[in-house]
């Protein structure tokens, strides 16, 4: 193995020392980080999805899009290794680099300017552990003026038990470029007591546009802590679709977007379905820094079974002429479930306009009866309303992904105990 550059080794050492004094994460179910091995000690020496054990391949099938023909490139990480990489040449123009992060670090010295710049290494214990021991991750670099029309798929499978998958991915969209990245995270049913903590830093340069769609599909033995931070420069646009169809035993996510540039904008929208005993702490934050920046945050939580959902949304402004909108709503369908929403608006300037809508409740009786009186059974009418509440159409996803997301939602709603 080629050695890593000096800056990287030093950053690792710093992080290692910092772990001790780092605070525990502010949000999410408390976890004992020592319970997870930092290396899977299980490698898959293949470059073909079909050669994977059936349970690993099966879990990938839950995510659907790695097998779609409608994607420009396909990367699959199993544990800490990138095992599959396919780039459709006709769809990926010259000037787009897609590779694993370790190779990129060795190749590009300038990556030191991006490594832990958007995401603070010193945020908490998990980010420090990440800084010291991360393994694997994708590097996606889109050159100036390049527009990749079809999405790029980058999926993560946790295939070992009592293991923490600490991948660190970096996406850089140079000026006037465009890209849509699909990230899916999952694990085979045989995996127990593992943690996925994929960290992603996204840099959206001048007038570039990045769409990130993230699907979380975990079973009840896995924790996940997807970490994400984004910096958007002048006129750039960042769109996040967070689709937590199966959040696993516990999940905490709080993607944070810094709208640094003038006229930069972001739309962050997420849905989460709480089932079983899931402990869910999800949110989104946008920091309006550049003049005339705009943020729109939408989260919708559906609490079923004995799940516990906390939804946090925050817009913070110090930018003149900026605006922010937060919608945070929850639907609770079980007496054993718990649901909390925390919308936050903060400003340091007067020339900004921030507002929010927030609601928690059950399915409205008059609306439910209206649908029943159109000839739908109570179950059918409830499912229609839930699907309407979660509104997967808002994600503006390419087909067949949208239909697949809808059918998964229908399935989960049908199976849930209300």
């Amino acid at each position: 193995m080629n050695s890593f550059p000096q800056w990287f080794i030093e950053k690792r050492k710093f992080a290692e020392k910092f772990i001790e004094k780092a605070p525990e994460p502010k949000y999410g179910l408390k976890l004992d980080w020592n319970k997870f091995r930092l290396s899977a000690e299980k490698y898959y020496r293949t470059m073909n999805i079909d050669d994977l054990p059936p349970e690993v391949k099966g879990s990938l099938q839950n995510l659907v899009f790695p097998f779609s023909k409608n994607i420009a490139a396909n990367i699959v990480h199993v544990n800490e290794t990138l095992i599959y990489e396919k780039i459709v040449k006709e769809m990926v123009p010259q000037g787009v680099e897609i590779t694993n992060i370790e190779d990129a670090i060795r190749k590009h010295d300038w990556l030191k300017n991006y490594w832990f710049r958007a995401f603070p290494l010193t945020l908490n214990k998990l980010s420090a552990i990440h800084g010291a021991y991360s393994k694997g991750g994708a590097f996606i670099h889109v050159g100036e003026n390049i527009k990749v029309k079809k999405p790029i798929s980058s999926c993560f499978v946790v295939a070992s038990s009592r293991y923490a998958q600490l991948s660190h991915s970096i996406v850089i969209a140079e000026p006037n470029s465009e890209i849509h990245i699909l990230t899916g995270c999952t694990a085979p049913l045989t995996v127990q007591d593992s943690l996925h903590a994929g960290l992603t830093e996204v840099y959206v340069k001048k007038n570039a546009r990045v769409v990130s769609t993230m699907i979380e599909y975990w079973h009840q033995k896995v924790h996940s802590r997807p970490l994400k931070a984004v910096i958007v420069e002048d006129g750039g646009e960042y769109i996040e679709n967070l689709i937590m169809i199966k959040p696993g035993l516990s999940i905490q996510a709080y993607p944070t977007v810094i709208l640094k540039g003038k006229n930069s904008s972001t739309i962050l929208r997420g849905i989460v379905i709480g089932t079983d005993n899931s402990d869910i702490d999800i949110g989104e934050a946008a920091y309006l820094v550049g003049e005339n920046s705009k943020a729109r945050l939408i989260t919708r939580g559906l609490a079923l079974d004995s799940s516990y959902i906390k939804q946090r949304t925050k817009v913070w402004s110090k930018a003149p002429k900026s605006s922010g909108y937060v919608e945070c709503s929850g639907l609770i369908l079980s007496d054993k479930a718990k649901l909390e929403t925390y919308p936050t608006l903060q400003t340091l300037v007067k020339d900004t306009e921030l507002y929010h809508e927030s609601s928690i409740g059950r399915v409205a009786e008059d609306q439910l009866f209206y649908l029943i009186s159109r000839g739908f059974s109570e179950e059918e009418a409830t499912a229609l309303m839930i699907r309407g509440f979660l509104d997967p159409d808002m994600f503006d996803l390419p087909e067949p992904l949208l239909s697949q997301v809808k059918s998964i939602i229908d399935l989960i709603v049908r199976e849930a105990k209300m």
């Binding site: 009866f369 209206y370 649908l371 009186s373 159109r374 739908f376 309407g388 509440f389 159409d393």
Partner: protein, 252 residues
């Protein structure tokens, strides 16, 4: 043959009796209008017919198409061929109008292309903009638009019996004409229409076979629709008490 027979029905809401011992019969493929003062139980009657659980039937029975439906769930009654429109249809976020209409059309066993064609027919007949199909049901729709959306669902469902609760309330003249046109159209297609209204205006565009007047716990049936004009002149009280008569009181 009667499509609907309501036999000595007594209904309570929140333990308060709203209608008592009411009977009426509606012949198949006919057009009946029900008028009556506020709180006389018109909506209660309709909600009991479709089996809204908030409306408790204490006694009596409802026969639809020869079958006793008094004790079957709402959606089964609807599937037998009953449609109801609401005075104030709710907004349902995330449920797209086009999606809902397609579900209703699919129920008629149409092919995919037939569903598309029928959907276009319906919205062009009702003057509903195509962009509305992608919007959430009734979200930001005006009063007139909401009523037209009700009519769209009526056309999509093609029921045997349409119960229209104040479909002409809160709409402008243009919407009123479109709604009246829809009533005439479904009548021609063989649907029986039962319309609750407060105003005789809509009766300038549609001609019912009979008018029921409801109030003071009784229901009276008139074959002569001039009764609507009489009500407008003398009020319900007078008509229900039988103090005035169509023959000697209505002049143009």
């Amino acid at each position: 043959m009667f499509i609907l027979e309501v036999d000595r029905l007594t209904v309570a809401v929140n333990n308060r009796i709203i209608i008592k011992d009411i009977s009426l019969r509606i012949p198949e493929k006919s057009f009946s209008v029900l008028m009556g003062p506020n709180a006389s139980g018109k909506t209660t009657l309709i909600m009991s017919i479709i089996g809204n659980p908030r409306y408790k039937i204490l006694s009596g029975k409802i026969i639809f198409n020869g079958e006793n439906i008094t004790n079957i769930p709402t959606y089964e009654r609807i599937k037998k061929g009953i449609f109801v429109s609401y005075q104030a249809p709710p907004t349902i976020k995330g449920v797209k109008l086009g999606f809902l209409l397609k579900l209703l059309l699919n129920r008629r066993g149409l092919s995919k292309t037939e569903v598309e064609r029928e959907l276009r027919n319906i919205i062009s007949f009702l003057g509903i903009p195509e962009s509305f199909l992608k919007r959430d049901l009734n979200l930001g729709f005006s009063g007139g638009e909401r009523k037209r959306v009700e009519m769209a669902q009526l056309m999509a469902m093609k029921p045997k019996l349409a119960l229209l609760d104040e479909i002409d309330t809160g709409v402008d003249v243009d919407s009123m004409k479109i709604i009246a046109g829809t009533i005439n159209r479904v009548l021609n297609e063989g649907t029986t229409v039962f319309l609750i209204t407060h105003y005789k205006n809509i009766l300038s565009y549609v001609i019912p076979d009979r008018v029921f007047v409801m109030g003071n716990n009784l229901i009276k049936e008139y074959q002569d629709i001039k009764i609507a004009k009489l009500i407008e002149r003398c009020g319900y009280g007078c008509v229900l008490k039988g103090k005035c008569d169509i023959e000697d009181d209505v002049y143009e």
